[in-house]
């Protein structure tokens, strides 16, 4: 890992322990996030997620100097913060997953509209892709964008949208015409008439405020269609896939933060684990080490514009599984009633399950790996993939 990332990693790890309490508070009351946005962890998230040209001055230590658009940087920061609590990241105000779509597709006025809003006050954003009955199959989405004079009207429903009902602005994917190039990404202001959002009751990661959204004739001025000057093949669907691929290594890194925290918690609680149990825990830590290398590898590849969706999905899928395996093992090793006597463990046990479905379930990623094998594109050519 290069020195700049080491500095960022150390800084995030120092602040992570105080996030346990924040995570517990968000689990009890997801709306309490406003009480914590002054904490340094939220400043770090702002620094690493905001494009450099829109970033407020922050308090990162000398030498960290975030690029603001590096997947590897996100992976390092997100793992370290998730060691404290992953829910803090998902509950956070800021550009979130919408960031990449706006940064990649938006013209300068659209980027100003979006990112300047985030700097005015804590502003939550959303990325609305998934639809009822369709899952996140982007090419099949049905939310409609129809012309109305010089403007457009947005109609349809989205489901499982993080921060959707809490957000002030967001990106909504919708269909202007048939086919993959008929998909558009539009900027939506939730104060506009016709927008409504409703929280969905979730088992874990409650700070993410996963929501159902409805759009009933929401008026979209033409200048809110992201990348409208670009060819159709380089906007809507292109933007969605680009954002998802760039965010997946970060999700995997978040699970690794939880896994490390859980393993260390077990060792603190049971320092004299029998050898057989210690061996099982070491097996979890081995897998975390291996996956961390793979996360950094795919993230560095993305930063160099070498995007392999099969490998990226595989890393996210295996990390999600490791998270479940680690928390199940921890509950067993800490003995009877551990899930009621260790509230933090019970929360981690619930939270990690959320990573299975976020940005594609395991089965979707397995199929993608299969496609990679058929195309002879899954295993890196020797010496091709890099290590951070």
């Amino acid at each position: 890992m290069i020195e700049r990332l080491r500095v960022l990693d150390r800084y995030c790890r120092e602040m992570a322990p105080q996030l346990r309490e924040v995570g517990a508070a968000l689990d009890r009351d997801p709306d309490s996030v406003g009480d914590f946005v002054h904490l340094p962890a939220f400043d770090v998230l702002h620094q690493v997620f905001m494009p450099a040209e829109y970033r407020n001055p922050g308090d990162l230590p000398p030498g960290a100097d975030p690029a603001g658009s590096s997947c590897l940087e996100w992976a390092v920061a997100l793992e370290a913060i998730s060691y404290g609590d992953p829910g803090v990241i998902l509950a956070n105000a800021g550009p979130g997953l919408a960031r990449d779509v706006v940064a990649a597709l938006g013209d300068s006025r659209q980027q100003d509209w979006f990112f300047n809003r985030l700097n005015e006050c804590p502003t939550w954003t959303f990325f609305a892709l998934t639809e009822p009955n369709k899952g996140s199959a982007a090419m099949e989405l049905e939310t409609k964008l129809t012309p109305d004079g010089d403007d457009w009207l947005l109609n349809g429903e989205k489901r499982y949208v993080g921060n959707g009902a809490r957000g002030q602005i967001g990106v909504v994917f919708c269909r202007r015409a048939a086919g993959p190039w008929g998909i558009e990404a539009v900027l939506v202001d939730t104060a506009d008439p016709g927008f409504s959002g409703e929280l969905l009751p979730m088992l874990g990661l409650r700070g993410a405020r996963i929501s159902r959204l409805r759009f009933d004739d929401v008026r979209i001025p033409a200048d809110r269609i992201l990348g409208r000057e670009r060819p159709p093949s380089r906007r809507g669907l292109y933007g969605a896939l680009r954002a998802l691929l760039r965010f997946r290594p970060g999700l995997a890194a978040m699970v690794l933060g939880i896994v490390t925290a859980v393993a260390e918690y077990v060792l603190e609680q049971r320092p004299a684990l029998p050898a057989a149990d210690r061996d099982r825990l070491d097996g979890i830590l081995d897998r975390a080490t291996a996956l961390r290398r793979l996360v950094h590898e795919v993230a560095a590849d993305i930063d160099r514009d070498e995007v392999n969706s099969h490998r990226i999905g595989a890393v996210k899928m295996r990390a999600a599984r490791l998270g479940e395996d680690a928390t199940i093992l921890a509950a067993e090793l800490l003995g009877p009633a551990s899930l009621v006597e260790h509230p933090w463990l019970e929360k981690a046990y619930r939270d990690v399950r959320g990573f299975e479905f976020m940005e594609g379930t395991a089965n979707i990623h397995r199929l993608s790996v299969f496609q990679g094998l058929v195309r002879n594109d899954f295993f890196p050519v020797s010496g091709h993939a890099t290590r951070a």
């Binding site: 689990d27 009890r28 998934t130 009955n133 369709k134 899952g135 199959a137 099949e140 489901r159 499982y160 969905l200 009751p201 979730m202 088992l203 874990g204 996963i210 479940e324 199940i328 509950a331 067993e332 003995g335 009877p336 009633a337 551990s338 899930l339 009621v340 509230p343 019970e346 046990y349 619930r350 399950r353 959320g354 299975e356 479905f357 976020m358 379930t361 395991a362 089965n363 397995r366 199929l367």
Partner: protein, 183 residues
């Protein structure tokens, strides 16, 4: 693909636990070997972290070993029934969703996963009724339940769906089945 299924029971895990308490120890609540009681919010007074999911925690003198053994066997039966019910839920859920014009029940990997879970349930039903076997069965049913929830996507993470019942039965197994018979 059109699935033909029996109507699903809607009785949640907390109510099923209360029923098990009543059948095992009429008029009372069974406390684990560590002195923990898990029951519905209607059966226990103190609200806690699991209240949101309809379950509460209490503390009491551990119940006698024979009572605990009967409760443990019943708990495993509740877990089997919840996993079995989730198969039905998953078939309905997937049958109502489509990709590329096909029901999500069509992919072979989905069909194989559902079949694996069904076979797990049948096999676990035949295991000997001993403390160690019960705990191993609990672990296998936990894994089977997780496999099913993976098929449900985000809906398996809703706190008013089968994911919540499977979480609660996992917590209950952690309390009553883990380490059973060792003390």
């Amino acid at each position: 693909m059109t699935a033909t299924l029996s109507p699903l029971s809607t009785v949640g895990c907390p109510a099923l636990l209360d029923d098990l308490h009543e059948r095992t120890l009429p008029g009372g609540l069974v406390a684990s070997a560590a002195g923990i009681v898990l029951a519905s919010s209607a059966a226990l007074p103190e609200p806690g972290r699991l209240d949101r999911l309809g379950m509460r925690l209490g503390r009491a003198t551990p119940s006698p070993p024979d009572v605990l053994a009967r409760f443990a066997a019943g708990l495993l039966a509740v877990q089997r029934s919840l996993v079995k019910r989730t198969i039905g839920h998953a078939i309905r859920h997937l049958d109502g969703r489509s990709s590329s014009g096909n029901s999500l029940l069509v992919p072979q990997q989905v069909q194989a996963a559902l079949a694996e879970v069904a076979m797990d349930i049948r096999e676990v039903e035949q295991l000997p009724d001993t403390p160690g076997s019960r705990h191993r069965a609990y672990q296998r049913l936990t894994a089977a339940g997780r496999l099913l929830l993976g098929l449900l996507g985000a809906s398996g993470f809703l706190s008013d769906g089968p994911g919540a019942d499977l979480h609660l039965i996992e917590v209950a197994g952690n309390v009553y089945l883990l380490g059973e018979g060792r003390s």
